[in-house]
Symmetry: C2
């Protein structure tokens, strides 16, 4: 570690969901979409002219910004695109927060925010979730520079209403409010419709979940032009071409294929609601998830035990060994066949 920076020596990186290669698993641990992306987008990739590859991708990401602005009915200058929503969040920290700035988020939420807080030397202010894992909205009304609302929250899956989000914004007009909507398309309402009303609102979404493109690394932010401009300054001071040409073109096509998007996200919501009932019959209880995952615990068996037994039987789910949630499992919604297989394994091999 002779040549390491203090940051490299001290930071604890994000722990991503395991990707074991020892056998073929039913993979319900990283909230991926069980369906392939829009066939139109796949076709675009397969038919790209080979001569496009030698050229740098468009650093302004014009084509995909155009598509996003069309679907969300905003100006192109109100859209920023990056290499996954993780990158967009990392850019937001650098664009809007200085060393020591207080950023407020819940104790139980996306576990990357605390990493960013350390990475960018901001101060983490924890506003704990209520006993039932709902958000303590009034708890955000305290001194700080920024608030991160994950809607629906992860790993709980619980959604805020648009009115609840607006109340947080209105009570904190001097703070930057980031609404991380990675899972919004599975039953929650987007805050994009508020961006013209509030200049302190930045909405972040991803292609990794509802658009089945986790492989391509596309995230985006929608907000007023002034916020978007700051994100561009950070990107162009770091890596102007973070999005590759295939991501730009296939992403634009997937965004415009609203019909396929609606069909697949509805299928996932329907599977989720059905499987939740099945699990409840088996003694599980959990949150009212509006995401592409369930967050549940069993009334007699330990979460960690079920996690390990499922893994032994070829089903990967996510278990967090953290206070308050260390008895819960986060189960991504797969295809009906995958979920039926999981239920069968639970019934026949674990809860028997």
């Amino acid at each position: 570690m002779k040549f390491w920076s203090n940051k490299a020596k001290s930071i604890e990186p994000y722990t991503y969901g395991e990707q074991p290669k020892d056998k073929k698993y039913i993979k319900l641990n990283t909230n991926e979409n069980p369906y392939p992306p829009s066939p139109k987008a796949v076709k675009i990739i397969r038919e790209l002219d080979e001569n496009i590859y030698k050229l740098y991708s468009d650093p302004t990401c014009s084509e995909i910004k155009e598509a996003i602005s069309k679907v969300y009915n905003v100006d192109k200058e109100q859209v920023f695109v990056g290499n996954g929503s993780d990158e967009v969040i990392a850019f937001s920290y650098q664009a809007f927060f200085d060393k020591g700035d207080k950023i407020i988020y819940p104790d139980i939420t996306y576990s990357f925010y605390p990493v960013y807080s350390k990475m960018y030397d901001t101060t983490e202010i924890i506003n704990p979730l209520n006993e039932d894992f709902t958000m303590n909205l009034k708890g955000f009304n305290q001194e700080g520079k920024g608030i991160i609302l994950t809607n629906p929250n992860a790993p709980t899956g619980i959604a805020l209403t648009l009115e609840e989000i607006e109340s947080v914004i209105q009570n904190n007009l001097d703070k930057l409010i980031i609404v991380d909507e990675a899972y919004v398309d599975f039953g929650a309402e987007s805050a994009v419709k508020l961006i013209n009303k509030y200049n302190n609102l930045l909405v972040i979404q991803t292609f990794s979940k509802s658009r089945s493109f986790a492989s391509l690394r596309i995230g985006f932010a929608i907000g007023n032009k002034d916020l978007i401009k700051a994100l561009h300054i950070i990107k162009d001071s770091y890596n102007p071409y973070t999005l590759d040409t295939i991501g730009i073109k296939a992403g634009a096509t997937a965004m415009l294929d609203v019909e396929y998007f609606d069909k697949t996200r509805k299928a996932i919501m329907s599977t989720r609601d059905r499987i939740k009932k099945e699990l409840e019959k088996l003694g599980f209880e959990g949150t009212n998830s509006k995401s592409n995952f369930l967050f549940m615990k069993h009334n007699s068996l330990d979460g960690e035990y079920i996690f390990k037994k499922l893994k032994e039987n070829g089903v990967l789910v996510r278990y967090f060994n953290k206070p308050r949630i260390n008895n819960y499992l986060r189960i991504s919604i797969g295809t009906d066949e995958e979920m039926n297989e999981m239920i069968k394994i639970l019934k026949e091999k674990i809860l028997k």
Copy 2:
């Protein structure tokens, strides 16, 4: 700018080569490869199973690291891969340098280093090139935490010998030495063969030039395992999946297609040497470029004038309005046809 960070307010982003869309240009301004990537790599992209897209890319980038380690005859743990060499350099700043650390590089070199120095709050120490644009090797022997050697240098194209690089390393064993080899495959010698001898050496390369994949955003670093580990810590604290699945798979295939790589880079070197002579006949003189570009000035006409006239006539080259080099043009090497067309335009429309 109410919500902007001090960084966003103060930093001057990197200026990338223009990508005008007003008409079709002969594009000799961003050092792209004129040939498409390995046909085997293109085939991989076209035949990818649609079901791979919904899954996150491999955060360990195993497949492409394996290919790189094979071709460069190093351990897989000595390889780091990122989203373009710009990202790898940005990660290096964060992994190895702290606020205020002195980083030494020439006055004329890749113009992103000064942006990174500001972005990551390090102190820039300029070691000016000699009068003839060669490096002042002894000038690196001064107090500092790091040295960046670009080999060949850009935009001059001048290469250092392996002995010269080793002398800098030996004289600065307490500094981290980054050798940026973006253009090394066009006639210079790589410092990769020194990594087992020196624990302070990090070699950075890219797929954007000699491997014709500027579109896919793949850069890599080779160095001892301890340095590589620090880069992973930074990546996993920022965006664990910076490389997408297509980049990983197509990149691995392109890396292993050594035959195609050799054929195309040799074609470019041969075109470069031929065109340099043609330009000399027209009154240009320039450096001994070992890159996929020429760096030349004319004996009577201004660089900026020629740049503008070429653009009017549909040929884009790069002009830097900077001290010492504001009479030079950086001309990327295109196909023989493109370069012949440029020579024809110079002869018939500009130098007439």
